[in-house]
Symmetry: C2
Subunit: 392 residues, 2 copies
Amino acid sequence: MKQFAEQYKLELLENVLPFWMKNSPDETYGGYFTCLERDGAVYDTDKFMWLQGRQVWLFSMLFDKVAPREEWRKLAEQGAAFMEKYGRDAAGNWYFSLTREGQPLTQPYNIFSDCFAAMGFGALYKIQPEQRYYDIAKDTFNNILERRNNPKGAYNKAFPGTRELKNFALPMILCNLSLELEHILGSETVNRFIPEVLHEVMDVFYQPDKGLILENVNADGSFSDSFEGRLINPGHTIEAMWFIMDLAVRLNRPELAEQAVAIALRTLEYGWDQEHGGIFYFMDVQGHPVQQLEWDQKLWWVHMETLVCLAKGYQITGNEACKTWFEKVHAYTWAHFKDQEHGEWFGYLTRQGQPLLSLKGGKWKGCFHVPRALYQVWQTLEKIAQLEPIAS
Amino acid sequence: MKQFAEQYKLELLENVLPFWMKNSPDETYGGYFTCLERDGAVYDTDKFMWLQGRQVWLFSMLFDKVAPREEWRKLAEQGAAFMEKYGRDAAGNWYFSLTREGQPLTQPYNIFSDCFAAMGFGALYKIQPEQRYYDIAKDTFNNILERRNNPKGAYNKAFPGTRELKNFALPMILCNLSLELEHILGSETVNRFIPEVLHEVMDVFYQPDKGLILENVNADGSFSDSFEGRLINPGHTIEAMWFIMDLAVRLNRPELAEQAVAIALRTLEYGWDQEHGGIFYFMDVQGHPVQQLEWDQKLWWVHMETLVCLAKGYQITGNEACKTWFEKVHAYTWAHFKDQEHGEWFGYLTRQGQPLLSLKGGKWKGCFHVPRALYQVWQTLEKIAQLEPIAS
């Protein structure tokens, strides 16, 4: 475990971070380029608020948790300055994307832009306690709460009343976001908030008969026999389970951590590709054809989040299956996603495990899952190396 | 050629049509199921107006052009009855999808639902000249023209004024739709209309320096260096080129047919997968990573439309490269898309040519491209077998 911890730490500090620090800052207009080729060359200059917010968060978090390096703080601040200046409409909603110069390109149809903006400004406030960072994080969080029952707003194409589905992604993100923003929201608010999102994830979206989490359920929580209702996203579930484990630690509820581990392991067995290795991107709970043509591809974030989940699961519960699976997923992930020639990791692999796209960053992949997971696994494995599991 | 003609005819009449006639009609609520498994079993009952309209068109067209079989007319009428009853909102826009029973599910955000509804009711009017079919086709066409400068309407997520792109799909479909609706719109209207859509396709979207058609250009026709602006969809271009050949015949302009053939052949060379065979789904004109994770997959409609284009190109211009390519694409398509065990053809293959999904129909694949292409190739090759090329 000590060796693994060292490997994740080195990869973070000496490969992945230097790649983003060198290639992503836009020195002319501010903010970050995220559309980076295999060697770091910028191939598109659009700026996606979702990814800008995540990068602000990442460098603020590193400054806070790893080392107070001035270059990290500066990088976080320069992204935040661009976001603050150009990122929101008059009502405080975050645009989905801007041009390189900061002109709005895509309307604020996507509430996850707001989630990651709040997360970024919240983390920045921790290392640079300026009132305006606090205000942006808090206002954005409140706006998310206001919008959360109809997150797509005017861009929602569902005809009202016929099949009102609710989606797993927002309650899942809110599990994590509420902890990330505790210093902004206050512990009392977070304490009131947690039971609600926990209930959504573990009672509403989790299906005990199947041992799986559905991506979409009817408004009343029942199963919707439709493309959306049958959808399983194993990576999403597994990522959510480490958010739940963090909540279990926060709440001192070991049985909740055990439950999260059980769901993660069940999902991993369900989603593992027996033929080629790796975890499928999308599945249909009834085994029907899915809508998503990319269903069989292997995505970086799915595998990175799984490593975090298994490391935490092992550290918190001592479940040996977490260790066995960690070694298996670790072997697959490092063999297939890590680029042996250039910095950062590939994002999208074919089912067979070959790179499908050469990019290191794009519209959906930025400076987030790879470094966050390397950090989380490093920290978690170091704890294991130092201590016995807290439960066994 | 005579042998090929017979092969396409038999496949249409004895394999593909029986599959849809047996499995797709919803005898209880009307309309068609299109989500059909490999063996024809219904796996989802939602009804997509786009695919309903296409199926009404197909069976009406067959009745008109192949044989006046009562079962074909009935099948067309039963789909139209469902569409007429449930398919539109109060303003006459066609919903994207309905439940099995006819409740609206997805708002009319997609103008191609309207295009295929107009096409379906127009064809049905030809074989069953009832005033209401005429009215629906005509009203829908006029509505498309009104909406065409902002086809997504309120669902358009682009921020106004920053990067106003126009998309190739609508002018392309209008090339075909205007001819399909000539008996409704009148020849004078169509004559006025054709030059405008021809200009869009051949002058605005076609890039003479590259010999390729872009999927999106700036409002002024210039190149947009963005994910959308760099996008090439080889199948779309090649399909459009047979629409242009039909217009060339209608206008008696052999040089236009020659130009369409040249663009189709250039696109085919550009889009052909040298390693595994077949035609890529999406490409970036500058060779950058594309957004679409399904970019390397081989789609049924791309290959079917290419066969139509090459057959017509050979018949109309006598260009021998069309014949050579036809034989090559024919060999690939029949070897990989045709299901040797069950009716209809697979829709989605991996880059290597294996079925990616077992479905024969879904949200986007219905009773349209396979039978239309089989019909078109059959008819075209029969003409070649009977006649010399009209130009050489």
